[in-house]
Amino acid sequence: MDANRENIDRYFSKKLSGFQQDPPEEVWDNIALKLHERKKKKALLLFFRIAAGMAIVTAIGIAYYLGNNSNDSKHLKGVAQHQPVNTTGRTDSAVGSPSDRHTPANETVQPAPDGIQPVPEKVTPLTPVPAEKQVILSNADAYHNARENALKTDYPVVVTNHATGDNVLLATAVENNGLTPLPVKLVFVPSARVPHTFDRMANMRTITPEEAEALLLAQYNIPAEAEKSADIGRTWSFGTEMAPLYSYRSIQSDKSYAAVVDEFNEYESGVMAYAGGVKIAVTSGKRLTIQSGMYYSRYGQHKTSAETQYNTYAASIFDGNNESEKSISVINSTGVIKGEITDQTGRKVSLNNQLELNTVAGDADSRYYSYLNAPSAIKVESEVESNTTLDQYFEYVELPLLLKYKIIDRRFDFCFSGGLVTNILVGTKIYLDNDAIDAVTDDITTVNYLGSFGLGFEYPVYKRFAFTLEPRFRYYFNPIDKNAGYNVHPYSFGIFAGFNYLF
């Protein structure tokens, strides 16, 4: 019998070894069309990669630029704070002697009249500031920072206009008891009249902040636009947010896979998942914000009536080992899910009365046995359970880059947001009938690019804290599967809620 079986193998093999047939021409037409489409998709993917790269570079550039500006401002603030007497330019003589140029850390400055307090005893030694930086900062930013500083401190603050060499003295007035700072009182002192000591400040006229501002702006030749820009400023914020997500997928296919896709759609459905993480944002001007951060997210889908194949490797039959192993495989739209389960799961398998059992080790011989008559020592080879439920989740680390444009800039802000999210697969979770199993899905794309679109609300709740709420829709630009005939694009909808801390 075996000889005849091998004969039939040889017969078919011999007759079919050179079997050829000409396919219809339309096959090539389809191939050419698909190659063209894929070329376009590759170009699009390349575009997204370049866009993501450029976005990251741009974000880093903006952060670097703003960081530098911020450092410079702080630097000037430091200069302002620690120069109770002017130390630069041609006005040295006007405010103290040249020996005062680098004020020692523990130097005490004589108290000034009119409530103006001396510099505290311990002052950090000055770090020389490059002239060009001082020039850059001698603008609206410098003025505003100095004024802010004056508000916080109880000692005189001097900044220098390097273009003219003039000094500007900013100071806070303190009540007679010396404890409670009054609202800022700015004193403008042209260089020619800067006193050697603060004694003479008693004779100076105190001007209103509005007057001082007008004088300062004039002194620094600050153009109106720069003034406006300074008013607007830049704000950094840091926060956290998370969202419940409804996630599912769309499938794009050609007609030959339409039936397969219909079947997937019939049994598969979306699931609730979640996403959350930390965000950092910088707002430039009143309306535009760039936001990035790092998130963890879960996407997934549910499948009912999943046909799960349990393959039992009956080791005892083939190699004398009494232990057996089970593996499972399930097919869904994203591909073939493969995993291992053990005998201890206690899972009931829907058995057909007619099971195929191997009875002879290493022999191709097989027979049909009634399940009831099957000897218990013989292991079942393959079983299919057709009514399991499957939940499949993909876990990602996400790096978003979002642009937000504020439409309403009131106490209750409202904005549009959109951008690109780079999404890196870090794990998969598979549940069969709600039991987690150790399984993987074949051929899943690990780096993905998503488009994100949302409508954001922001409401300040306490000082620098603001509550944020943003319904957001996200869609995978690239397919996550590598199937030949169809492409799976997950998407999700979630309401992100969180807090921002402004600094």
Binding site: S13, W28, E356, N358, D363
Partner: protein, 189 residues
């Protein structure tokens, strides 16, 4: 190796290099060189012409996408053939594997009949095409491609025992079909 053979190999390699550079003319030339052989393979794995054409189409797209990986170290025909077989298996897994136990409902007598009929290759392909999906795939892989049961088990995610029993059933069914065909042709004449 004859000069003519060397020439053909050289020509083939030029076409492959063209495909590696995504040259559309080279792609068409490669398709023309292998389409009849590969379509023959596809027909063996598919149950019908439509499926065979889909496999051929998907297989060639894979060939063009993965052709960068061909390093000119082995025979190109073997490489492209493997891509086609893998495409057929992928399609089988996706479309038909879950019929599972249904495969076993198909019956056939295990006659010891002698193979004496000289049957046309296309007719044999038709007979293979009438097998159930899993039997057809296992028979192709074992009897015509030369894979072992262990390899088949890994490729189809089934056990070796299942592969063996599927092969056995496929052989029996084909034997019966061949015998019937032979008897019918004898009666006709």
């Amino acid at each position: 190796m004859s000069l003519h053979h060397v020439y053909l190999v050289d020509q083939l390699h030029k076409v492959v290099r063209g495909c590696q550079e995504n040259d559309p003319l080279a792609q068409r030339e490669l398709y023309d060189m292998f389409k009849v052989k590969m379509y023959g393979i596809c027909l063996r794995y598919a149950g019908n012409r439509d499926d065979a054409q889909d496999i051929l189409q998907d297989g060639f797209i894979k060939v063009f996408e993965k052709i960068q990986q061909f390093g000119f170290k082995g025979a190109f025909e073997g490489w492209i053939r493997k891509v086609m077989v893998n495409t057929a298996l992928e399609r089988y897994r996706l479309h038909y594997k879950q019929v599972g136990i249904d495969e076993m409902k198909e019956t056939g007598n295990q006659d010891d009949g002698q193979i004496i009929a000289d049957i046309d290759a296309a007719e044999l392909v038709r007979m293979i095409g009438e097998l159930s999906h899993q039997y057809r795939v296992v028979f192709n892989l074992y009897a015509l491609e030369g894979y072992s049961h262990k390899e088949i088990g890994e490729m189809l995610q089934i056990s070796e025992g299942t592969s063996k029993s599927n092969l056995s059933r496929a052989r029996a069914i084909l034997q019966e079909k061949v015998n019937k065909y032979y008897l019918k042709s004898v009666q006709t004449y």
